[in-house]
Amino acid sequence: MSGSKPDILWSPHHPDRYVICDSELGLYRIGPVGGTETKPGTLPLSEETAATLLAINSDTPYMKCVAWYPKHEPECLLAVGQANGRVVLTSLGQSHNSTCKELVGKEFVPKHARQCNTLAWNPVDNNLLAAGLDKHRADFSVLIWDISSKFAPETSVAAEKIRISTVDLDSSMVVTKPLYELGQNDACLSLCWLFRDPKLLLAGMHRNLAIFDLRNTSQKMFVNTKAIQGVTVDPHFHDRVASFFEGQVAIWDLRKFEKPVLTLTEQSKPLTKVAWCPTRTGLLATLTRDSNVIRLYDMQHTPTPIGDETEPTIIERSVQPCESQIGSFAWHPSSQNRMVVVSATNRVMTDFTVFERISLAWSSTTSLMWACGRHLYDCAEDSAEGAESTVEKDIATKMRERAQSRYGHDTLQVWRNHLLAGGNDPQLKSLWYDLSYILYVSHMKQCAEDMELKLQGNKQSLVYSGIKNIIRTSSGTTESRRCWIGSDRQTDVPRFSSEERCLALRLCGWISRGPDIDVETFLRSLEQEREWERAAAIALFNLDIRRAIQILNKGATMEKGDLNLNVVAMALSGYTDEKSSLWREMCSSLRLQLKNPYLCIMFAFLTSEPGAYDGVLYESSVAVRDRVAFACMFLSDAQLPHYIDKLTNEMKEAGNLEGILLTGLTKDGVDLMESFVDRTGDVQTASFCTLKGSPGEVLKDPRVQCWIENYRNLLDAWRFWHKRAEFDILRGKLDPSSKPLAQVFVSCNFCGKSISYSCSAMPHQGRGFSQYGVSGSPTKSKVTSCPGCRKPLPRCALCLMNMGTPVSSCSGPGKSDEKVDLTRENKLSQFNNWFTWCHNCRHGGHAGHMLSWFRDHTECPVSACTCKCMQLDTTGNLVPADSS
């Protein structure tokens, strides 16, 4: 019959052989494409593989179903179920050896002819072959044949009766007596043996699924359903069975057989094949009629820690192995996720491997893992330190390293924090210097009552609000024209000064105190840091051209100095203020070729008209603080706020931390910080910075709270619990409102009052964690009793002493040290003495005792209590990653 639907079977033992059956049986061998020369008869299956036809068998007409004998020997024995219900054993490409000969050609004939729908070999008892037939009156529809049975006694009689049939068979090859007959008065559409017990046979009958037990054939377990076609057991999970009906697949759990555990989304067209992937758990492939895609369902059951019965998540996707419509497919028995697909017409075959989904996970410590198929890839950040890796480290790695180096915690020398951060980020350097100047200035005002700086009270907060706001309030600006220092020549450069401008310069770090603008200290510090160009520029801006030349000279003569600096000094010394001089003309054009921005702006300053300093102000590689300081000196009251506003917006947009100088820690500053965090993700710097300098309003900003919370979460995720505690302490100091109120109190069993009442000096105020412990003074006589009612506190489950008694001794080598420590009075408040108890069984005692107990035990120390206290705590067994 030409129109029959093709099917594919992989050999159970040869991973390179398969059989296609449509109108005939064709045995193919699959192999790599054989180079350039293609042998005749080789069919390409994919780019790498090709199939060779080994044998054809067209002995058995009217095939309805085929099943491959699962045993090694004879290796290519097939059972063919025919339209008339006969099951014939046949073979392909075999030299007729003895074992095969006995079996090949054997026929199993049902009492009443009707279509054979399905065949299934028993996976253990390989002699048993189950055949599922259509309904015939009261006859049985599931017949189990024993292929080793010699011949049925009735055979001779039956042979006599063959009158119509022209098939002339060796009568000894015909078996008419099945070993078992099941499913009376019913039709059987699909069959499979259950792996969990080879005596159990699952059959898709007419409108029900039935499980037959060969040990007791009169009984059957069944469930009424329409989904009775193509029953198939999951090879990885022997209780899971799939079956289908029209467009719908039902997944059954044999342990709970009453109804399907799952039904997959219905397809518009009827299904033709459903198969579990043998190489991957929970992967089901389905094919519908007239379709060129295979739909895959990935059913992964992930047990949740709660152990709830959750629906498995199903990921559905489609693959298209070939262009044409698919007739059938078969998973390769051992090659991972591989299948061969045969087209609906013309027997076009395709070798196809389903690409595995990639799943990916970041660890909290920046390493990345992904899995594809059976491969697991770990991707850690390259920590090649010597090679000055061109790729910048991930911000998470940086933050982690910085957290370990106590970044942000240096509150005395705030500027040092940039060194803790690694000291190679100019923005951070600028930020921490800004903060340190801000803090310094505000500190000066607060404490030292520096008379020179005594400003109005409202100016106090001005320090925090950045140069932008300071400039805005500027008043009483004086304009002066000064000489070049060391020469009598009058300059035509107007210089502006006011109290606010002076403050701004201080914030920029140019001067340490006003109102005299004396940059000498600053210059010296720059010289020390070998920032010759910058120092020279600043000297020049202070109209001290000699000093500038001197600095450059010094720079050139120093060890490893740049001799070019001398050249620059020479050029500088030729300065003339004549408008049309050659010097001026040359310098204004050649300065652009100077690599160093500071050298460049020096000439820009010298060659530009007064009040038009764009060449200096918009040289973006010059530090913002220098440009701002320059602006404060040389821009008029009309120009200055405009320039500062422009620069501020530029900084905010770019998220450049240098801009903090302008914005201060105001709302503007938070805006800037926001774009910085958006750009870098560095919540650590943002958290510390906003905590450091800020008045209350900024800390109330939800963005700031969000950064702080995220940073704390990050520390928790890294198991940097000590770091987080440190951070919390710092935060509590700088932002008292962030301190959590006491939420847990230890109350007395007798009077119900909190036992911490009298333990602290201020009995009615919560004191954070000290609530848990007995933090009262050790001189107090009765720490072991309730301060309210004087009744004793509960006893520690281990030492049996009343709580409040200090931990006396711990077993272990630390014993002697412990005793020494005990003499110290402050020992009493240490963590070992804290109350701790299990929230489940309510037993507890000294924290130190409990810790050492649970180091070796899982159960509660109270006898007869079986509570597994420590295991109830999901994080209880984790160790902090930071040891401090």
Partner: protein
């Protein structure tokens, strides 16, 4: 045991021999082009008199009304008995014999007219839709009754208690005794893979539509009892094909395509009725099947528009004849099975039908 009321609403029609030409298009479509029609139940039986076509309403739409088409006015519902495989019957007999006592006899008692249609796969008992409540109330003691609605089996409870008492027709009369005819030819009950239908299409068309059997005229010559009669039945029900034909017709088909029992048993036919039986008389099937059941003899039963036909195992029916006997002159000692028909209203002929065990 379960009784299923199947989800088909059937019409029983008859096409006269002369008018066949008007219907060949529709019939070929119904037989060979399954995908073009929504007909799920189709049965065509050729008898010497006419063609009986039983089909569901979808199929009925295909038949053009014509003077050659007689249609029984009521709608019929097919019943089917499912033994569930739980009752391992001691009886080896198949066919109507199994349901004679449990279904057919009680229905006959309630004067429910039945139309039997045996196929290779099963036996359908067709009852009129209006009789359904009586059928349910009659059979619900013996059976779990399910009504199939769109593929789901819905249990049917006893909802029409009032109808229990309502019997059909008059009080029980002695049923009419009909003459029987036992032709010589032997029949086979067979099936076919629906996929192979195209390959035997020409043969089937030939047998169905071009069979001008010379011996067809059995009505005009009542003495031709022992001759062969033309009888061919084809049914396509829920995708299953069933064929009943004599050995003569069988020879025209390729042997390996037809499915039959491995024993390849052959059957003799007993045609019931001298005059067309009509549809209102009850108890005819019961009359025949009851004695067969008593004797545990397998039988198929196919009703047609005019007559009923029972098929009895050839091997068990060595002699079957119609012998006029005196009313009381029975000789049970000589016979294995004795079927004694009570006298008819008209008169005196008693038919004895028996079967000898070999």
């Amino acid at each position: 045991m379960d009784l299923h009321i199947l989800d088909h609403r059937l019409r029983v029609t008859c096409i006269s021999k002369n008018g066949l030409a008007n219907f060949t298009h529709a019939l070929i479509k119904l037989i060979f082009l399954r995908n073009r029609t929504r007909c799920k139940f189709f049965s065509l039986t050729e008898t010497p008199e006419n063609y009986t076509v039983v089909l569901d309403e979808e199929g009925f739409k295909e038949l053009q009304p014509s003077e050659h088409l007689q249609v029984e006015s009521s709608t019929w519902l097919p019943l089917n008995v499912v033994s569930n495989g739980n009752i391992s019957s001691s009886s080896q007999a198949v066919g109507v014999t199994k349901i004679a006592k449990s279904v057919i006899a009680p229905l006959a008692q309630q004067h429910v007219s039945v139309f039997m249609l045996s196929t290779y796969q099963t036996d359908f008992i067709l009852v009129r839709e209006k009789d359904l409540s009586v059928v349910i109330s009659t059979l619900e003691e013996e059976f779990n009754i399910y009504r199939e609605v769109e593929g789901e089996s819905v249990p049917v409870g006893c909802q029409n208690v009032s109808n229990v008492l309502q019997k059909n027709g008059k009080e029980a009369l002695h049923p009419t005794v009909h003459p029987v005819l036992i032709p010589q030819n032997q029949f086979g009950v067979m099936s076919l893979d629906p996929d192979t239908l195209p390959s035997i299409a020409t043969t089937l068309i030939d047998v169905l539509f071009y069979s001008n059997s010379p011996k067809v005229d059995s009505q005009s010559s009542p003495n031709q009892d022992l001759d062969c009669i033309k009888f061919f039945s084809f049914s396509l029900i829920d995708g299953y094909i069933s064929l009943v034909m004599d050995t003569e017709a069988q020879r025209q088909f390729p042997a390996d395509l037809l499915f039959t029992s491995s024993s390849r048993e052959l059957w003799r036919m007993v045609r019931i009725g001298g005059q067309p039986l009509g549809f209102d008389e009850c108890g005819i099937v019961a009359q025949i099947s009851q004695p067969l059941a008593d004797g545990d003899i397998s039988a198929y039963y196919i009703s047609t528009f005019s007559f009923d036909h029972a098929l009895v195992t050839h091997t068990r029916c060595h002699r079957a004849s119609s012998v006029p006997l005196q009313q009381n002159a029975t000789e049970p000692s000589l016979l294995d099975e004795l079927v004694k028909f009570p006298p008819t209203a008209k008169g005196s002929r008693v038919f004895l039908f028996y079967s000898l065990c070999s």
